[in-house]
Symmetry: C2
Subunit: 449 residues, 2 copies
């Protein structure tokens, strides 16, 4: 019996989730006996036009995972089958263990152009081998959390629930996406596996199919409300305000039913929310909340609230599920030092910062972010908090630093209260947040240039 | 020793990759003894402005996979822990087996607005339970293949290689993405695990880090060329044309070296390709090919080739890796029939087609696509080929139909030669491809309306 190919990718196979050139370069380093220590730095060169900051997410877990990978026999057999790798090199790969250090920003740290999210110090082959996997793992969490936090800000304290599972790019994006949403401050998710695994409360209402499968809308609403005390009823299947009136009539008939909310999923959400609120209030149901969904993004939520729409909870799917306006961040993982010498690629109009680095963040007297300094790692500055921390040392994961990933949600929540006003704006525009280079890094840049 | 949480999602756990409301609705159906047969239809309401057709991809594998899933004890324990589900219902879930039929388009079929990619006929609970997973699985393959085929068309027969691993949304998107790229007609991928699993040749060149790790660019090029006969050398690390001259000088010194291609990865690719070609040709290296990469999409490739850029192979990453201009397709999985009665949600300005359907595709005398008819499934039309085929019957996967997924690449290649000119254009614009409703479906629509 033929089965469809598996979707599953075992963690132990992630050692092969790499670009072929990493392996060919590593074989070349091995043949050339190039085994000195290198530093690679993970950063992005510019913010997408629609972002005033990014939330660095996923880099601590990615680094911890990647540093533990091994080539197993089945991987080496597959590589042998390509005809590109010689047996002695495959033997060397069999013994491959990551022995270096990885410095990371704590997950949930706001981050700006040219700031390192992560730096790897290791024999060059080891550092090169981690590149593609780390980038693939960091990409979705950073992109999705950075979108989701804008939606959280737009909702001004009202709960936001993730409805995006069906729009997201496959299984891993959907499951780890919930982790990014948790970090960003969402209140819940419809995604059962994602929510269970990443500890975000499960939320669900009902779909139009449930109403349509019944011959009568009011009987469908009745059956669902009887089944689920405290439920949310979807009212827009046929005519939204008629649907609201049916809920009110149902509650008049059966006052013991407990309906917590209605959901609007189509039409002019602002006008329908106002009209629904009036109907509910007039019937004495001031406690029934209004949940709105239907193609929402941060701009629509902002416009609805500016217009006084009485919406209590937002359900957001498509726009957040792929970060539709900025689905990718152009991360670079660049060699910045080898054999004790700073290295840099010269690109016209692009900043490439040589050498091992540290990132300092300064706050003003009120605790608000006041500016960053990208510095050399071997200097000590009085420029605020040093944000890059050693997560992996000599190949071993530091448990205390890894545990910081678990508090990413709290870190983001705290950060939102400390952002300068220009960073909390949702309209497109350049960030004016000051990011400077230390004098020593500026000198190194010119010496290397 | 604390480990980072796994990235891996076992296929057996995909039964929980669903929206909570699917499970609450199914419990409500169970409590209401609603067990009649339903039909759900998977389609999209409109093409993204930047697409003239989509390639339906992933739906055969998704249907075959989803139809085999079971709730295991650990899943039922997790659901019990939510407090939402009663023990007798969880017992019923333990016995859940998909017993219905699933009709699908063969993977790699061009598809237009309102055409069903897939229809599920099953007792309503069973059909409802498959919704979220099928949509999550179909989304990335369809979105990525539909973008990639545009890049293949733009390249006019020149090979296109996937360099997108680092930009894609996580592990599953990257691995199944290669399957979508294979379907779309790419020539190769840099993604080792994806290429090995989904049978697309592995391709790789070298990164700037390799050049930078050496103290001298020419020595780096020499070492790599010696290591890999037939390799591609990256020439733009410092100055592109200087890099080309170094390759030429190297070959003059060591004529036995076999360099197949150079890669340009920055700057004005058109001008640099022309100048590089001249230098190579003047030195007698007409056989050395030019590979270009660096933020390419179909429009840039078209412009480069229109301008006569002598580029032989395109490497494409970011724009294709997330289908940046249309990262999502607004798929709907809608109830269209229950208990023998057509059902439809009325939405102003939206087409919702009731009842079980079939899709017919007509060709002209030259074999070119001439128009589609969306029909009722219970009518037989003389309107071309009937495209929806029963992949799952009474819960069992039809092996011959499933095998059609393996020929998706050939199906796309053949289809590209049969598309009307308006569909092969890459500029934004409405598709003028005729998609009609059969008279019987039109009547049913009005009767249900």
């Amino acid at each position: 019996m033929r089965a469809p190919p598996p979707v599953q990718v075992d963690d132990s196979d992630l050692i092969l989730l790499t670009d072929l050139y990493q392996l060919t370069m590593v074989q070349a380093y091995w043949r050339e006996a190039m085994s000195e220590s290198a530093t690679f730095s993970l950063y992005f060169r510019k913010l997408p036009p629609s972002r005033r900051f990014m939330l660095a997410c996923g880099q601590q877990h990615a680094a911890a995972l990647a540093s533990r990978l091994r080539f197993e026999d089945r991987h080496l057999e597959q590589l042998a089958g390509t005809g590109t790798f010689e047996p002695a090199f495959l033997d060397w790969l069999a013994g491959f263990r990551f022995s270096g250090d990885i410095w990371t920003l704590p997950e949930g740290t706001p981050v700006f152009a040219n700031e390192p999210l992560l730096e790897v110090d290791a024999p060059i082959a080891e550092a090169q081998l981690l590149e593609s996997l780390i980038m693939n793992l960091v990409q979705p969490e950073t992109v999705l959390a950075s979108k989701a936090v804008r939606i959280v800000m737009a909702a001004r304290g009202r709960p936001v629930v993730d409805f995006g599972l069906r729009r997201m790019h496959g299984v891993d994006a959907a499951v780890r996406g919930v982790r990014a949403y948790r970090t960003a401050g969402l209140a819940g998710t419809s995604n059962v596996l994602g929510g269970l695994r990443h500890d975000l409360p499960l939320r669900g209402t009902m779909a139009h199919s449930y109403i349509l499968a019944h011959d009568d809308e009011r009987e469908a609403l009745r059956a669902f409300a009887r089944s689920y005390p405290g439920t949310t009823l979807l009212v827009d299947t046929h005519d939204t305000l008629e649907g609201v009136r049916k809920v009110i009539a149902l509650l008049a008939e059966e006052p013991e039913l407990d309906v917590a909310a209605i959901r609007l999923d189509s039409g002019d959400l602002g006008e329908l929310a106002k009209a629904s609120r009036r109907l509910l209030d007039e019937a004495g149901h001031r406690d029934i909340k209004i949940i709105a969904s239907s193609g929402l993004d941060e701009h629509q939520i902002q416009a609805l609230l500016d217009d006084g729409a009485p919406i209590d909870v937002f359900g957001v799917g498509t726009a957040m599920g792929v970060a539709a306006d900025a689905p990718v961040i152009d991360l670079s993982y660049k060699l910045v030092e080898y054999a004790g010498r700073p290295r840099v690629k010269h690109s016209s109009g692009k900043v490439n910062l040589p050498g091992r680095k540290q990132l300092y963040r300064r706050r003003d007297a009120n605790g608000r972010l006041a500016g960053d300094v990208i510095a050399r790692r071997d200097e000590t500055l009085d420029a605020g908090e040093a944000l890059l921390l050693p997560l992996v040392r000599s190949g071993a994961v530091d448990q205390e630093t890894l545990a910081m990933a678990d508090s990413a949600r709290e870190r983001v929540a705290a950060a939102l209260g400390t952002l300068p006003d220009s960073l909390t704006r949702l309209d497109p525009g350049e960030s004016d947040y000051p990011v400077a280079l230390s004098d020593a890094l500026e000198r190194l840049r010119h010496e290397t240039g």
